[in-house]
Symmetry: C2
Subunit: 459 residues, 2 copies
């Protein structure tokens, strides 16, 4: 075991937790298009966002500084699980018979079991610092709500979560985990908000959607000066906070003296993928390395590979600012696939911009292929992955098998953004053979994107 | 953070995984009483155990050697999660306002989410090496079945698990996790065995018991020369394998230059507690340190604190050899508390012997007190503990609050033997206020222990 590349776990000392977040905006050849006010169609300013977010986060959202210092109070919470381990997947490689070297950066060691606390802790801190007493948010699969409930417990904030009714009923363990951390969980639509009551009046049996839950959480936050709203992906400041993942991975690869040839991650809103790959993209833009960077999305929610690049709303009801992004249209209703974290109509504007710049590529995978990869991974590496990162694993295995054909010993890095302990029902369905896959037709996509708002090209 | 005692995580390098298991038998002032054949009442020999266990494990069961080398193939699997982290519970200490220094050794990082794979991997390896094709076992809460299914996947063995029917119905996620690792899970009683059919004939709606499930697994293993049986606690070789935990903890404390004043762990069969404390007891017996060693058991299943020290069967049906241990009687029916891993009528003979020698103490805790500690721990430290280690945490918090009164800055080490991701229903019940506690009456215990077999004192 004297060859460091042969180690199973590449770990860092607690003192090596990154002390700054990395802001990719500073290094891109051009900035992404501005976010627009839905009424005026003019770029939004800090004041437009102030009813929902503390100024520290608003400034991070628009910052052009290359690095942002991580507050000591946030670092202190990060120490509960960071640095996260980088694993060499020796046993998976052996099972595949591939000469490829497969590495995975594992974020499932966090309190919520995914990468989400990296930003939840930062957001809770800045809100507490600004004198806010309560945060509201929505949650679909439940990962984000869990992370925010945990983060709020660290800084003495109340946390109120609107959970999509379908998930609320199907995933009781997720709800209990949020409550164990002290969160208050409402099924959405709820009768606690105007938005929720309006939906219930029309559809008393509504099973909800992420869009409705966002509307409810935003409505409650906007009404109370001591309450703010928090979002778990998509926005620049969220992606910024996630760069602790990639900065650690860069240091871990430096430790073993190699660099990845391929970086592959799953994308829903894009924060986990961005967090891993931005620091590598920094080094690629600087000409130091030249990895292929590949996003993997569900075939049933293919915003990057089959959506359009256009201004669209972040929520179904059309209450948020307009963001230019790869989107299937804000009225798109994704299939009820088990990777709930990937069921979002749009892609982070920043990731969308980077994709348009040709700095990364994207592929899609069907649900069945993903769970097949997840089970193979569990049986070889011992970790049952969340349904979301099985998308990255499926693409990773595909590449490793290509290497087996070609004889290449590529270095593949994948983002294992969470464990699947609370998603085992999905594995149960896969093992029972009851999973279904729905390939979207071109007509379906065309109909959804026809709902896009009409935004004139800038002067 | 230059003071190493102030670190949140005390980690070891992969190269520091212990390469030998530690056998406490070599250092005890006297050996434990022999295990007896239930028919002849004579000490059992290796041949008596050969139909169920491979000879390598039988020899470990009776070995007097101080150290046993860990095979390279077992170490290689250990590397997936070992060394496990030792945490300093800064945030819990702060919440309690105690001058005590609280450390916890966390085994939830393993594939099964508990300490169980430490022995499951070893047992699967030795069985595979002996040419065995299939292992059978029982599981109650599901931790052990999960660990063995994972371990069998590593060495190409089939794994068949009889899961107590009540758990099988109530914990579908546990069953799916075993299946994800490739295990085959049967509800017990099943119609696959003579023992199961006999129970079902009399009680068609039986919800099963660990005793019945053991009978089924043993019956199947005994009939097929290529099938063996595996046990997850109680026996000497199981406790031996778990000593990787304590050896790592000794090294981790050496790294920060202090030693524990109190070591506290939960006990069901005793393997997790033994694994942590045996290496410290070795150093205590050698006069190098002098910690208090404290076992914590459920008030509703108090084998150490309220049972008798006598020869008894390991299973309800009375098919196993007779072991001298602290027991509530093999006909004892424990309360359906959520800490399923602690619901066993007897205590490991080795732990029982050490208790009799006065080398450790024991206390009991009610279920509600334990979950209260578990929730406080989750909200401060970010890990939702399994119901079993909440017993240790309750005792740990009790001691830390005593230190707050006295002003002592005791160093407390506790065994956090697993996470509670698959036990969240129990937290749901606690948070909903529906947990109940049943204090056993002296009359109840007297009736149970009256079923003990009559074993004459040795000549």
């Amino acid at each position: 075991m004297s060859d460091p590349q042969q180690a199973t776990k590449i770990t860092l000392d607690e003192s090596e937790i990154p002390r700054r977040w990395y802001n990719i905006l500073a290094d891109l050849p051009s900035p992404p298009p501005p976010v627009l006010h839905p009424g005026t169609l003019q770029p939004v300013g800090p004041d437009d966002l102030a009813p929902l977010f503390p100024m520290a986060l608003i400034l991070q959202e628009v910052s052009g500084e290359r690095y942002v210092d991580i507050p000591e109070e946030v670092l202190d919470v990060y120490r509960l699980w960071r640095p996260s381990p980088l694993y060499r997947a020796h046993r998976l490689e052996k099972a595949l018979g591939t000469p490829a070297k497969i590495f995975y950066k594992y974020e499932g060691v966090s309190p919520a079991g995914s990468h989400k606390p990296n930003t939840a802790v930062a957001q809770a801190f800045y809100n507490a610092q600004a004198g806010i007493r309560r945060l509201t948010t929505e949650t679909g699969a439940g990962q984000w709500g869990t992370a925010l409930a945990f983060a709020c417990a660290q800084f003495g904030l109340d946390c109120e979560i609107w959970m999509v009714r379908a998930s609320y009923d199907q995933k009781p363990y997720r709800k209990i985990m949020m409550e164990t951390f002290g969160g208050v969980v409402h099924p959405s639509p709820s009768d606690l908000t105007v938005a929720g009551r309006a939906i219930l009046a029309e559809h008393p049996d509504s099973t909800g959607s992420l869009g409705i839950a966002i509307s409810e959480a935003v409505e409650v936050a906007a009404q109370d000066p001591q309450t703010n709203y928090a979002l778990g992906s998509v926005l620049n400041h969220v992606l910024l906070h996630q760069t602790v993942i990639g900065q650690e991975a860069v240091a871990q690869f430096a430790q073993i003296g190699i660099t990845p040839d391929l970086i592959v991650g799953c994308t829903g809103g894009g924060s986990n993928f961005a967090g891993l790959m931005f620091p590598f993209l920094r080094d690629k833009l600087a000409g130091r390395i030249n990895p292929t960077i590949r996003a993997v999305e569900p075939a049933s929610c293919p915003s990057l590979t089959r959506g359009v690049y256009a201004y669209d709303f972040g929520d179904t009801a059309g209450m948020t600012p307009l963001m230019k992004m790869h989107t299937l249209g804000h009225e798109f209703i994704p299939d009820p696939i088990h990777a709930g974290g990937l069921r979002y109509h749009g892609m982070s504007p920043l990731i969308s911009h980077i994709y348009e710049l040709g700095l990364m590529e994207a592929v899609s995978k069907t649900q069945r292929e993903c769970f097949e990869a997840g089970v193979q991974f569990a049986r070889t590496e011992g970790i049952v992955p969340a349904p979301e990162p099985t998308h990255a694993l499926a693409a990773c295995i595909e590449e490793a098998l290509r290497c087996k054909e070609s004889g290449e010993s590529k270095v593949i890095l994948t983002a294992l953004c969470g464990h699947g302990h609370l998603d085992l029902a999905a594995y149960g369905a896969y093992l029972a053979g009851t999973l279904t896959d729905h390939e979207l037709s071109t007509e379906e996509i065309q109909e959804y994107v026809s709902s896009l708002p009409n935004v004139p090209a800038p002067a």
